[in-house]
Structure formats: structure tokens, C-alpha cells
């Protein structure tokens, strides 16, 4: 990986991600038009000065819908990541600290989750719980748990062999205290990088669930649902399918670049590599 590309990825990823978050936050207080306002007489208009991205099949402003969709994508994926990390990281720390049976149990549990194709499990979960934003978060979050658990465990195991941890043990600190005071801080950079990548996977997963109708419910806007609505209109209004798709691609691209950039900057394992 060339040195020249590193800051570029970080900068581009950072700019796109900031834009995404800004759009998401902005949509909570202001959108160019009210997304609840239907104007059926003017539906499916193309882009114009008044409506930069045109109007959808109910005559709603597409730009406003995409902003609201950003808010939805951000909240669902962010909470799913926090959920996954909130459960996965403590489990990983526990497994690394206790080893033995606890470790084995945690790892086998992650095996079970990983044994399911992600989307299939998400569909089963939403079928049982019903569609909606909260259940989409659960369905996506379930997959983040083992990812964080394994990453935390793996990294923590190597930290447990470090001299400063041995010193802390010699000083009589218990495993729980060592985990919190010495292990967890050392994992921060690895976890931040992983969180960014899981975040981007979450955005795609949320779009997929909404596309099959299992995500956030109307009238709330989501990019996946916009795509699903647009698909039947492909023959008469092809642009309808283009804008939400581009929003997904740009957001995911930004998050991936940010993740890569952060990894190059933060991950100590890459130190000294060309």
C-alpha cells in the first residue's frame, strides 16, 4: 500500500462520512421539502431547479427523501454497531481473561451465529418479530456481536502476554480490573477500525432488508425502500432507481475508505510494513 494513498483514503473517506452524518442530522431538523407532503399531480418529475433530484411516485421531493433516508441508515447501522460492540467486546474480554471453558463457550456461540448466512437469519428474525426499524437493528446487530467478540478476544489474548500486563498481575490486580484498565484501552484502535467497517456493512444490510420490505416502515423513508418502489417504475422513470442507489454506494464507499485509512493510521500491527 503506497504512502501516498493513505492520507487520501482517510481524507476522502472522512469527508464523505462527515457529509453523510451531517445530512442525517440535518434531516432531523430540516429538509428542502416536507416528505409527508404528497403531490400526486406532479409525480415522477425529473430534476429541476426547484427539485434537484426530481419528485417520486407520490410527488415527494427525492432529495428530501434521500436526506431522511440517510438519517435512517445512520441510526439503524450505528445502533446495530453499538449493540454488537456492547455485547461482543465484553464477551471477548471475558473469554480472553478467563480462558478455558468460558472461552470455549463464547467461541462456540460465535460459531453458531456465523453458521447462518447473514441475510437468511435477518429474514427469520424479522419474520418472527415483525418488520420495523428496531427489529432491523436487532437482525443486523446479532451479526456484529460475534465479529466484535472474536476480534476482541484475539487481540486481547496477545495483550495478555505483554510485559505491562504481567506487571499488573504481579501487582495483584484481578482479571476484571486488568481487562478494563490495561487490555480494553489497547484495543481501542482495532475496534474503531472494525466498527467503521461494520457500520458500512450495516448500511448495505439495512438497504437490503428495506428493499425486501423488512426494514423501516413507511412513511419513513429508507434508501432500500426507495429502490424497491423505483424498480417497478424503471421503464417510465429510470432516474428514480439511480439516486438512492448512488446514495448507498457513496456512503458505503466513504465508510470503507475511512476504515482503511484509519487502519493504516491506527492499527499497530501494520507498523513497519511497506
Amino acid at each position: 500500500m503506497s504512502r501516498a494513498r493513505r492520507p487520501l483514503a482517510l481524507v476522502v473517506g472522512g469527508i464523505i462520512t462527515s457529509g453523510f452524518i451531517a445530512a442525517a442530522l440535518l434531516s432531523r431538523i430540516w429538509t428542502p421539502y416536507d416528505v409527508a407532503a404528497f403531490d400526486i399531480d406532479h409525480r415522477l418529475q425529473g430534476p429541476s431547479a426547484a427539485h434537484w433530484l426530481g419528485l417520486d411516485h407520490f410527488g415527494r421531493d427525492v432529495l428530501s427523501m434521500i436526506l431522511v433516508g440517510a438519517g435512517n441508515a445512520l441510526s439503524v447501522s450505528l445502533v446495530a454497531v453499538l449493540l454488537g460492540a456492547g455485547i461482543g467486546v465484553p464477551l471477548g474480554l471475558l473469554a480472553a481473561a478467563r480462558r478455558g471453558l468460558v472461552d470455549e463457550l463464547v467461541m462456540r456461540a460465535t460459531d453458531v451465529v456465523f453458521a447462518f448466512p447473514a441475510l437468511i437469519l435477518a429474514i427469520l428474525i424479522t419474520a418472527a418479530l415483525g418488520p420495523g426499524a428496531i427489529n432491523a437493528i436487532i437482525a443486523i446487530g446479532v451479526f456484529n456481536v460475534p465479529v466484535f467478540a472474536r476480534l476482541t478476544r484475539g487481540s486481547a489474548l496477545s495483550l495478555w502476554t505483554r510485559d505491562y500486563v504481567l506487571a499488573a498481575r504481579a501487582a495483584g490486580k484481578g482479571p476484571a480490573r486488568i481487562s478494563l484498565e490495561h487490555i480494553a484501552p489497547g484495543l481501542a484502535s482495532v475496534l474503531i477500525v472494525q466498527a467503521t467497517l461494520q457500520f458500512s456493512l450495516g448500511v448495505i444490510a439495512e438497504a437490503g432488508l428495506s428493499y425486501v420490505g423488512l426494514g423501516v416502515q413507511p412513511p419513513a423513508a429508507s434508501w432500500g425502500k426507495m429502490l424497491a418502489d423505483a424498480q417497478t417504475l424503471a421503464a417510465i422513470a429510470p432516474l428514480q432507481a439511480v439516486f438512492p442507489g448512488l446514495a448507498i454506494v457513496i456512503t458505503v464507499l466513504g465508510l470503507n475508505l475511512l476504515g482503511d485509512g484509519l487502519r493504516d493510521r491506527l492499527d499497530p500491527r501494520l507498523d513497519g510494513e511497506p
Partner: protein, 848 residues
Amino acid sequence: MKVSAFLGLAAACLLAFAPVAQAAPKDTVTVALQLEPPNLDPTSGAAVAVDEVVYGAVFEGLVRLDAQGAVKPLLATWWEIAPDGLTYTFHLRDGVKFQDGTPFDASIVKFSLERAIAPGSTNVQKQALSVIRQVEVVDPRTVRLHLSAPYSDLLYTLAWGDSVMVSPKSVATLATAPVGTGPFRFVGWRRGDAITLVRNDGYWGQPAKLKTVRFRFIGDPAAAFAAIKTHEIDAFPDYPAPENLAQLRADPALKVITGSSEGEVILAINERVGPLADVRVRRAIQHALDRRAIIDGAMYGYGTPIGSHFPPQNAAYVDLTGLYPHDVAKAKALLAQAGYPNGLDLTLKLPPPNYARRSGEIVAAQLAKAGIRVKIETLEWAQWLDQVYGRHVFDLTIVSHAEPMDYGIYDKDDYYFGYHSAAFHRLMQALEAATDEGQRTAILGQIQRQIAQDAVNGFLFQFPRLGVFDARLKDFWLNAPTQTIDLRAASFGGAGGAEASTQTTSGAAGAIFGGVLALAVAGGLALVAVRFGAAYLAGRAAVMLLTLLVASLVVFTIIQVAPGDPAAYMLGLNASPEAIANLRHQMGLEGPAAQRYLAWLLGLLHGDFGVSYTYQTPVAALIAERIGVSLPLAGLAMALSIIIGAPIGALAAARRGKAADTLVMGLTQIGVAIPNFWFAVLLVMVFSIGLKWVSAGGFPGWEAGLVPALKALALPAIALAAPQAAIIARVVRSALIDTLTEDWMRTARAKGLTAGQALWRHGLPNALIPVLTILGLQFPFLLAGGVIIENVFFLPGLGRLVLQAVTQRDLIVAQGVVMLLVFVVVSANFLVDLAYLLVDPRLRSRAR
């Protein structure tokens, strides 16, 4: 080398199923339906799609209805009704034979009708037919029905698909291999895709002109448009996408027919819910609705506004659409009067069809303007039947009541919208007593007014009948009052051509792939056992089994928790609780969960996945059929992703740090970021709808020939492969860069190899290890991860089978497929681990 071997294997497997391609005959008609019938037995279950496919074509009853709703002779040539209305004598047609050779006579009538009303029968019309006290065989050509009470609608009931004549020999297999007396006979069903009928040459009447009828199932509006536009479909009698009709009308090769159906689309209001019991609140809702905007917005202008629960095309129709003009201020005033000056909060539960979902969004926006804040919840049909129809847990819902003359539901006790009115009940009694047509019409008018004045429900619009047909298709008749598609007289102008062979060979591809997989697994295991000892292998296998066991428990629990009763789903709106209980018993849904789990698990252990509730065929056979699509698709996508991704990655590695590397890696970043279903939609727009190179969906089956089958899989495979190729390019690049810096690469250069030779001989083989790992891990995800892609392209694969099984509450199928996928994932992980051990000597010592 490993890659080319894999490709060779895949190609060989594909070639093995390449029979001779056939010319398309023009005495074959392909009719598209939105919904696939769950089974083909019209005497059990309420699915409209069953009647559409087999009633009239395969099965016939004693009488039928014509387009005007008049009763006409069919298997009975004439009949007499005793003056007291208690005895019906039918004279039967001579020389009629079932397609299995059984002659049709009075004993068949006795058998068929007694079967419908027997205890344990799941016939939807059981209650109505139970008025028959006795079926008396007078002689082989004459049968007499004795009723327990006069029932003026008996002839109509006998004209429904539920009352068809069945051959006693065939009743055990009616669901999967229907046998009737009709002009067509059933020959094959590729589940998820198509049902094929061929002309019955031994038919008693005028033989059909068409030789073959294929029913295909396309519910997705986008796929429907592409299929009719590319002439894959000759007839779409119930076209799901009104937004495209204007365009289809402009096509001279197509004929668009629009009319009114018998379906009233209503905003049903649950009168059991506090505020909604108040007629002022219900009237406020009426004033808040703007029917024109709903019809324009949801139906693109197709549909007739209605003001009550009655079809405008009926002679007795009274136009009540002016009773509650769209008036937001009035609505607010009424709400305030009722004690809700600040509006109120309601939920609107919407079933899956587009008309309901779209109308629902518009209705919610309209009600919001009047201060009624509506929360939308979208439901699958199974959930809708359970929550709304069964348990009455809802405030508002939108649904089309498709049954003709169904105003009687407003007189039903405890119907789902909970309307009770003594005045209405008196009107219904007066209607039943009415003798002449003028009196009847007058009472029907009063009935409409009563419902409208009580603002029982929001009456939105009469559902339009939108049909799109090949312009050459003649005499294709949609029997309006009953749900049937009558094809006996249909033909293409001046038709003629070769016969189509339509036998389906299920899952041959799957069987071979399965065999290859089993061989590979066995070989791998043997190798590992020899090198690392049986104890290690046993340990790993135990972990694997434990994972599978826990996973099976998780699957079973989640699926059993899912709300929605499969029996209620199958029997539909008019089923009696008794019929549902009977079906639940038949399906083995009773008993404690633990017992059912164990039974299922034991079955799985010896390869018995159970029998599908809806299709009534073994789940294993269904899976085998679907694997024949999913496995080649996954293989094709994987091959494509390697062919595209590996060279790109190698190029980037070779030009590391240069502009080409940066450019290529930037592109792969974009590739990884593209959701495959969006890419799929774009591909359909460009290559199917725009360029018309390939069909937009469906799968012709391997027996249709290699080229059509591969053409159908091309776009889905590309859509699946694109993000995958980007990942592979990135992995290949970093793997190559890692190996290039190894000491032995320097040694290779030192002994005189050029950079290219060193890369080719020493770099690539070593770099393949991580690539193969990624492939091994991705394969099961390609197999299952095509769920959305299979939906975009309407491929009858495993993913769609799961989605469909979940929505139809075909629990046993959902459980089986998910377990299979879990098994594949776990096995793939296991194999990848073993491959690592075999390839990387450094790991072996640790394994021991």
C-alpha cells in the same frame, strides 16, 4: 491449476444437462399469474390461484357460470328442482371419462359431494354444501340431492371450484397430480416457476385448440413488465403494474383490456376500538379521504370510486360517492365533536399487495391532514390473517374484497371489522324474502345506503381488472364471476407447430453437484484422518455437530415463534374454525413444541426433511429442485468473479504504487460498495428492458437447453459476481504483494527467473491460499446470499424458497432450507480449516 480444474468441473456439470433445444411452438400459450397456487386441489383451501389454474381447465363440476353469472350445464345436462326446493335431480352427461380412465357417473357425484361435507373435510364451502342431507344415486345417469332446508344458492355453490367432480382413485394425490374431466390435463410443475397443462385428447366436448398451456408466476411488477414486453408471456389476465399500462397500450403487438373487477378496496375500520365505535369519528375519516388522489396515486387512475360496498357495474348500484365529500375542515369538526379536538393516533396494518401498500401511504397522508396520526405497519398475508382477520388486533387496514355480491359480510357475527346493526340485519332478512327483481334491487339500494350512512368502512375504489395480452391471442375468456381462466376456445390466429415436451426433471443438477461435494468431503476427511489422526478429526467433527445441533434449536425456535398459523393461511378468508383445526391436525401442528422438535430432528438425521405444508411434496424434493438453480448460479458467479477479479488483482500487484494500481484499487472500492441488488436492477433496466438481450426474470429449466438456461442465469450471476470480483481483486493483490516480499521469491529471482516467471511459478500458487479461503467462505453465502438477487430476477432458487416459505408460514420448508444452508456453511468452514492444515505445514504442529 486448481482454478482451472474447478472451472472445468463446473462446465462439465453444466454441459451434462444440455438436451437438444426446441423450437417455440405457437400452439402453446404462456399465462402469467401473480400468485403461485400452493397446491392444485380446488376442493381444499381457498387460494384463488388454484382455481385459476385448474378449475375449468382440468376439473369440471356439474354446472358452471357464464359471463353474466347465469348457471349453465356442464357435466349435468339438465336438472329439475322440486317445488319445495328440497330436492334437486341432475341428469348427467354420457360418455365422460376422467383423465385416469375412470368413467364419470352418478356414483362419482355421490363420492365427490359426500367427500366435501364429510367430517374432517377442509373444503371451504363445507358449511354451504352441508345443506345436502343425502345424495341418492337413482341410476348411473341420474343423481338426486336431498336438502335439509331450501337453499336457493345451491346451483351457484355447485358452480364453484370447491364443488368439482373428482376421481376416487386420485383423491390422495389431488394436491400434486390433479385428475379431472376437463379439456386439459396436468403434466408438470416446476415449483416457484411454472405449471404445465396439455390438451386432453379424450375430452368429451369440443377439444381445445391450444396444445399446451403454461402458467408462470410473476408477482413482481417490474418483472411482469419486462416479461410481457419481451413476449415471454402471452397473457397476463391480472397485471400488477398499472403504472406501465400507458406504455403497453402503445405497443401494437399487445392488447390491453381494462374493466372493473368484483373487488371493492376498502379502508376497513375496527369498530371494537374505542374512538372508532363513534360514527362521528368514522364519518370524519370519510371526509378526510380524497378518492381521486388515492386512485391516481396508487392505481395510476385505474379504478372507479365507490361510496359503499357494491360494484358500480352492477344494475342495482347506487352512487353514494357524494355522501362524504373530501373536506378536511368538516373532518376536523366532526373529530372535535366526538371529543378528539387534538386528533387521534391509529395504526394502519397493510397486507403485501401494491394496491394496499400504496393506497395506505396516501390514506395515511390524507388522514394526517385532518389530525388523525396514522402509524403504518406492513404485514405478510399470514400475519394479516392472524392479527387483523383472525384476532381483530388492528385499527385500520386496507384490503380488496374480491368475492362477488359479498355485502352479507356486514351481517356476519364477529366479522373482522366488527359492524353490528339491527337495521342492516332486517334489510338482509327482507332481501332473502324478496321474490321479484324490482323489490330486490330496491333493497340492495337500501343496503348500500345503510352501510354508507353508518360509515362502516372507508370505501375507496372498485378494483380494476387490468389484463395484458398478446394481440394475436383469440377467444381467451376470463370467466368473470368465478375465478377461472377459460382456455378451451383460445388460440393464436393460424396456429401450428411442434409439440413441446414439458416433463420436468427435478434436481438432476443438484444430485450431481451433491455427489461431487460428498466425494470431496469424504476425500478430505480421509486425508486428514491419515495425516492428523482420527482423534483430532473426531474432535473437530464433534464441535461441528454441536454447532449444527444448537443451530437447529435456534432455527426451530425462531420459526415456531413467528406469528401466523399455516393452516389459517392456506384456507383463507372463508374457512371455518373446524376446517382450520382439521388441517392443523393433518399437518401435525399439534402437540408440545419439544416433541415436534425431536420428531423433526430425528427425521433430518435420516435425510427426511418432512413434507411441505403448502406444496404437499417432500421438502427434500423441493430443495433438490431449487438447488438445480442456486448451485449453478453460485458456481457461475464464483467463476465470473475469479475470471474478472484475479487478473485485476495481479495487475495491481505488479504495478504496485503506480497510477494503474491506484485506479484499479479505487474501482474495487466502488465495486465493494455497490449493493448487488441495486446493480441487478440497473442490469435489468439496461439489458432486459432497454436492449432486450436477455429475459428479465424466470428460469426456463435445464431441460429447455443449455443456452436459454445460461442466458437466464447470466444477469443474476453478473450481479452477484461484481462485488465479489472486487473483493477477490483486493485479496489477490495483497496476497501477491505479501508473497513478493518473501525470501524464497528473492531466491527465485536470484537463480535467474524473470520477475514475471517468479510471479507465475512461485508467487501465484502461494497467493492462491488466501484466495481459496475467501472463496470457500464466500460460496455458501453466494448460495444463500442470492435471496434478494433471486427475487429481483424471479429465479426459483433456494433463497426465494426460504423467503416464500417464511411468508406463507410453510414452517417445515423454512426450517429445512435454513438447516441445509447452515450445514453448507459449517462444512465449508471445516473444509477451509482442513485445507489450511494441508497446505500450511506451520499449522500442523499446532493441530496435533
